[in-house]
Symmetry: C2
Subunit: 346 residues, 2 copies
């Protein structure tokens, strides 16, 4: 039974507030697109695929509330809504992909009533397609995993992060469902502790044995030969395979290479951004220093301490053994294989 991270209720969206986990399972019902935008900014909804789905529902909710009946006026107002939603978080490609797709649907509708219906239907369709994509990529990725493996993963990439089956965590959970004996090393993922809070919660729920480690311990276990695979998700994959993902991913990739551990990225194709030639073009979100100097209101550092908080880093493609998508597993040269897979039809 999958956690329903995001659920469409006809005229509102029900979400599981991920900032409250693992302490409490608090569900929120959001009727306004601004609430969706705020929930994304505050990371109540997070994970690139889930942000895309939430963005699509946000556009639908926003459209339903527009009172204009004139098509042009309606579309002008819709544009403001999509701009607001797009401004919430800059790195995850899926958000922009979903919003673009919603915009295109809006353009093709003849009248406002029809457009509203089409937008709701499209958001629901995006959700279903994305969930199905994570189901398929989890299955494909699981084939790579040998029985008896220990898999190191970073951040959270399960049902919570995808409103579906998960990406990296989907692969892990699926591998166990195939009857393989799997152990997980889950990095806590500072600053916001998605590993300690969310991945631990999801692995516990899925009955996958795991050990929580600090981000700084990953190298220790790899160097001792105790890690068989590193599998992570992605927020944006450039044309050449360079991959933006949660801060710390780059370090894991370098350590994996150094210790001959395969390093896999698992993501739906909606994370791929062929418009960016390489990873240095990916905009990295810089979040509040308070997330580093504090943990859940506990102050860690002396008052006035300056901190940096880049939310993502970019892993150059040369460190990536393969990228697992719902359309297949691609390898170097990514500059060819990523484009090819986007051109295949499902």
């Amino acid at each position: 039974m999958l956690t329903k991270a995001i659920e469409w209720l006809g005229d509102r969206v029900k979400i599981l507030d991920q900032t409250q986990l693992p302490r409490e399972e608090v569900y929120l019902e959001l009727s306004h697109y601004q609430d969706i935008a705020s929930a994304i900014i505050a990371m109540k909804i997070r994970g690139a695929p889930a942000i895309g789905i939430a963005g699509a529902y946000g556009v639908a909710l926003g459209a339903l509330k527009i009172e204009s009946v004139a098509r042009d006026e309606f579309l002008d107002k819709l544009r403001v809504i999509t701009q607001n939603l797009a401004a919430t978080r800059p790195t995850a490609k899926n958000l922009f992909w979903a919003i673009d797709r919603m915009q295109q649907v809006a353009q093709t509708g003849k009248d406002v009533g029809q457009i509203k219906k089409a937008l709701v239907a499209e958001a629901v369709k995006i959700h279903a397609e994305e969930a199905e994509a994570t189901r398929r990529l989890s299955q494909l990725g699981a084939e790579l995993i040998r029985d008896g493996s220990t898999i190191l993963t970073h951040c959270n990439t399960g049902p919570l992060a995808t409103a579906g089956y998960g990406t990296a965590l989907g692969v892990i959970i699926r591998a166990q469902a195939q009857g393989k004996r799997i152990k997980v090393l889950a990095t806590e993922t500072r600053p916001l502790l998605q590993g300690a809070r969310l991945t631990a919660w999801e692995l516990k729920k899925a009955s996958v044995p795991f050990t929580l480690i600090t981000d700084s311990m990953a190298g220790y276990f790899m160097e001792r030969g105790e890690v068989d695979y590193v599998i992570v998700g992605a927020d944006r994959i450039a044309q050449n395979g360079d991959t933006a993902n949660k801060i710390g991913t780059y370090s894991l990739a370098v350590l994996a290479r150094e210790n001959d551990v395969p390093f896999y990225v698992a993501a739906p194709t909606t994370t791929i951004d062929l418009s960016l030639a390489s990873g240095d073009k990916i905009l990295i979100e810089q979040r509040s220093p308070a997330e580093v100097t504090h943990i859940q209101e506990v102050s860690l550092a002396p008052e006035g301490t300056q901190a940096a908080n880049p939310a993502f880093d970019v892993t150059p493609h040369r460190y990536i053994t393969a990228i697992i998508t719902e359309r297949g597993i691609v390898k170097e040269p990514y500059i060819d294989s990523l484009e090819a897979i986007l051109l295949t039809t499902n």
Copy 2:
């Protein structure tokens, strides 16, 4: 003005409780060796050189309290004391070095009264020598640093960690004192946050500009070319140069190598252990999982979460650009240079 992390008051030891920093400067006066042992275990006193000094004072305090006047009986009781002190933390060489030196002094004394006096004098001497060693190595290391540099450091290696001038942090503070413009990237150092709590506190006190980062961000800044040096301390250095230091150090060394950033280890020669051929012989302390699942009583992970907590890792010598000691800066082949430097007289 150096922080007095440890101070001898004639019949007791005054320490600054490092678990309370940066919130409060709490000083404790300890009269029993058991209190020293407990303070080391609880990391109220920490840092390899400081642990060595505290261990020496612990032996002196223990000796003063022994009521036996028969030499053999006294030495038997002293042996129990040294064994207890040695059992506090297994990794830092300095502790065992200091305790051994105290034991040797005890053996050479003729009667109990004389031995007690000699032990107190020896502990005070060890403290003075170790403080002087960190002063000299800070000075030598600072010569390596170019004006305008950004230095990344891990854990805490300042006056707090050494009861002297510091090792890695001593080099940094000394480089600034030489008039060089220095910026520091300080890793928070999970799980116990010695970077966020202690290094930030010491850098603020020394007016060295710094930015706090999570451990997972080090690679991001190195890859962007924003780090000129990585400098860390050490808990034990094997004959071949392999170096045990705070968990996460190995990852920093691999990332530094990958990004052509010089990686320096700064330590007094008392950290060198020629009896161990290589780093895989170094015993790594495994601490309580609660340090990973909790931060200052705040629970981070779901109840029952299993966590690993190796306190140190080993950086193979091939990643180390140079080791900075009070007797000089040594490089590969460490198997020759470390032995040679231990044979030189001051």
